[in-house]
């Protein structure tokens, strides 16, 4: 029993935070750079004997790193702003991914814009959709919000499915790749042969998102989200404009989803409504909760693990979804706060908010 308990209470996050707080600025910076370089070198891991256990059978490892792994991590981070930071359950996150992807496909095919110019457009459209959906619906709470967002996800998908102008059920093929980038050390090509460049691009987007969340967390919006998550009525009474910050959180999350969609479309060169089903929303939400809701590193870990696992075990192709489901059940039962839970301190202060309306 005692070993079971210690396993249950073992919190890597607190251990990690303890070590981190003991470091000086130089140590922190060098550790950060080392981690980023390590992440950047990940596509080469499959080539060496000491790391080729990571290799995914059947699909190309570097491709898997872009989609699903990189995309899922990016979207989980975006959804984490909504679900983890401000505590709103969003079951239709895939809608913003779809909006980003369709923006890329439509603008890329019908105009002369290239991916780098469409990226801000895609983010903007997703954010506008976020605001338009947010203003009427964010007055709702809890599970009602969940079903409305779920409905929105389905509305976007069904609209794409039934609009013949953007391909209907057949989707849109021949979406252009991003143009090459000329760097001092050489030309970075983006085409089907170079998944590494896409991976690095996604990595940069992920780092930017992490940076944005970390900056916002310690500033006014982050504090407002935290207050809303713990007790919305109390926050409102204390003068936090809750609706405004909820819309902000929703919109930022939507923007990240839109960015992921743009990259996805220009990587796979093909978008169709089948890629934006409710299952994706559920998967992303699983990544967030599985890794450790509200904790950036937990969410990253959850995204990597849940996107990578089904690809890694593809050799049991038929049963891999089954194994995936079992993993969700088992891990949630034994670590309900996720693999890397958020800081214990926050939980001690808010037992009521954590256990919800139970």
């Amino acid at each position: 029993m005692s070993t079971k308990n210690s396993l249950r209470n073992f919190n890597i996050r607190d251990k990690g935070a303890a070590i981190w707080s003991g470091w000086n600025r130089f140590q922190r910076t060098s550790f950060g750079i080392a981690m980023i370089l390590l992440a950047g070198a990940l596509p080469f891991a499959g080539n060496y004997s000491f790391s080729n256990f990571l290799n995914t059978p059947i699909s190309n490892f570097a491709d898997v790193l872009v989609y699903p792994v990189g995309m899922f991590v990016l979207m989980s981070l975006g959804l984490n702003i909504v679900v983890g930071k401000s505590g709103m359950l969003d079951l239709g996150y895939v809608a913003f991914f779809a909006i980003g992807a369709y923006t890329m496909a439509i603008c890329g095919k019908w105009t002369d814009l290239n991916t780098w110019e469409i990226l801000p457009l895609g983010i903007a459209f997703a954010m506008i959709a976020g605001v338009l959906l947010g203003i009427p619906t964010l007055r709702l709470r809890g599970d009602y919000l969940a079903i409305v967002t779920m409905g929105f996800g389905e509305i976007v998908r069904i609209t794409a499915l039934n609009t013949q102008k953007i391909g209907g059920p057949n989707g849109m093929a021949n979406v252009p790749n991003p143009p090459s980038i000329h760097t001092p050390v050489g030309v970075l090509d983006f085409n089907i042969m170079t998944p590494n460049s896409f991976y690095w691009f996604v990595l940069i987007l992920i780092l930017l998102t992490i940076w944005m969340i970390r900056r916002l967390s310690v500033r006014r919006p982050g504090r407002a989200w935290e207050a809303i998550r713990q007790d919305e009525d109390a926050a409102e009474l204390m003068g936090v404009p809750t609706l405004k910050y909820k819309i902000w959180s929703f919109t930022l999350g939507a923007g990240v989803g839109g960015a992921a969609g743009v990259v996805y479309a220009s990587k796979t060169l093909y978008v169709s409504p089948d890629a934006f089903t409710f299952n994706i929303s559920v998967l992303i939400l699983s990544c967030v909760v599985f890794g450790g809701i509200g904790n950036i590193w937990g969410v990253v870990l959850g995204g990597v693990f849940l996107a990578y696992l089904p690809e890694r075990i593809r050799f049991i192709s038929n049963a891999r979804q089954l194994v995936f489901g079992l993993t969700l059940v088992i891990i949630m039962n034994f670590r309900p706060d996720g693999i890397l839970p958020r800081k214990k301190r926050e939980k001690l202060h808010a037992p009521a908010a954590e256990s919800g309306a139970k």
């Binding site: 679900v83 359950l89 009427p136 619906t137 007055r139 709702l140 709470r141 599970d143 009602y144 969940a146 079903i147 409305v148 779920m150 409905g151 929105f152 389905e154 509305i155 069904i158 609209t159 499915l161 039934n162 409710f278 559920v282 939400l285 699983s286 909760v289 599985f290 809701i293 038929n318 049963a319 979804q321 089954l322 995936f324 489901g325 079992l326 993993t327 969700l328 059940v329 949630m332 039962n333 309900p336 706060d337 954590e354 256990s355 919800g356 309306a357 139970k358």
Partner: protein, 315 residues
Amino acid sequence: MHTLISQFWQLTFSGAVQGFIYILISLGYTMVYGVLRMINFANSEIFMVGTFATIVVSRDILGHQPNSGDLHGFTLIYSMLFCLIASMLASGITAVIVELVAYRRLRSRGTNRLAPLISAIGMSIVLSESVSLLTAGRATIAPEMLHKSSLFTVLGANIRVDQLLVFIVAPIMFFGLQRFVNHTRLGKGIRAVSMNEETAKLMGVNLNRVISITFLIGGLMTGAAAFFFETVYEATKFNIGFNIGIAAFTAAVLGGIGNIRGAFVGGLTLGLLETYASAVLGSQWKAITVFVVLVLVLLVRPNGLFGEAIQQSRV
């Protein structure tokens, strides 16, 4: 629009039948939400298990084949009863297992609200993927037990015998359930837990038992819906629960989730709306119409048409 006017009563009848199926499924969502304040995400798969139980019993145990012709008289009655009971039991037992595996441990530890949701999602993936492996992902055709003959015509609407069966039996089951919740000792326990878990516990309600029974009843009703669904549509697949589950959940929210009477109104409204909308706009847009209506209703009445909580089901 022309179709809607010329076939209004026909559409109303089939919409109501569809609505009654939704009502029974949405009870699986609404009962569980009432006592746990959690979405029973695996209910769509509980429905799916029921549809397969119906087919397995009629095909493998009773030996009916899809092409063996219609049944008559006594054989028909006992076959249908047997299938109905099997479907209800299969779904009910699955629901109890889902509660044991996905909810109980997390509930007793009082964790955040999303953890049980994810473990229920996990359970629903496990259920649908197991069935997908067993059936090789193919659709399964049910033996036709009830000949789909039209009995009579009312106001220009053809009343088919299978639809009439749903139309009569489903409301009886619903009102039976409502009586159970409102007039029995166990029902009182369920209402007590849905009002206040802590107080109910202090008053001597066996919490675990009440929650198990709530899942069981939700499962039984979902199983009955699965049987009716098979009687009308006669085919199933491992992922059949998904869309119908979303629709039933929407119905529960429309009426006010956690509220049994709300499930009735929500299910019926949804069934009718869906049918009217597909007649006017074409069936590909019906899901959107439903969601748009749901959003509009929630904007005006944020707790659904009838508000939350099982305890309000006392008329």
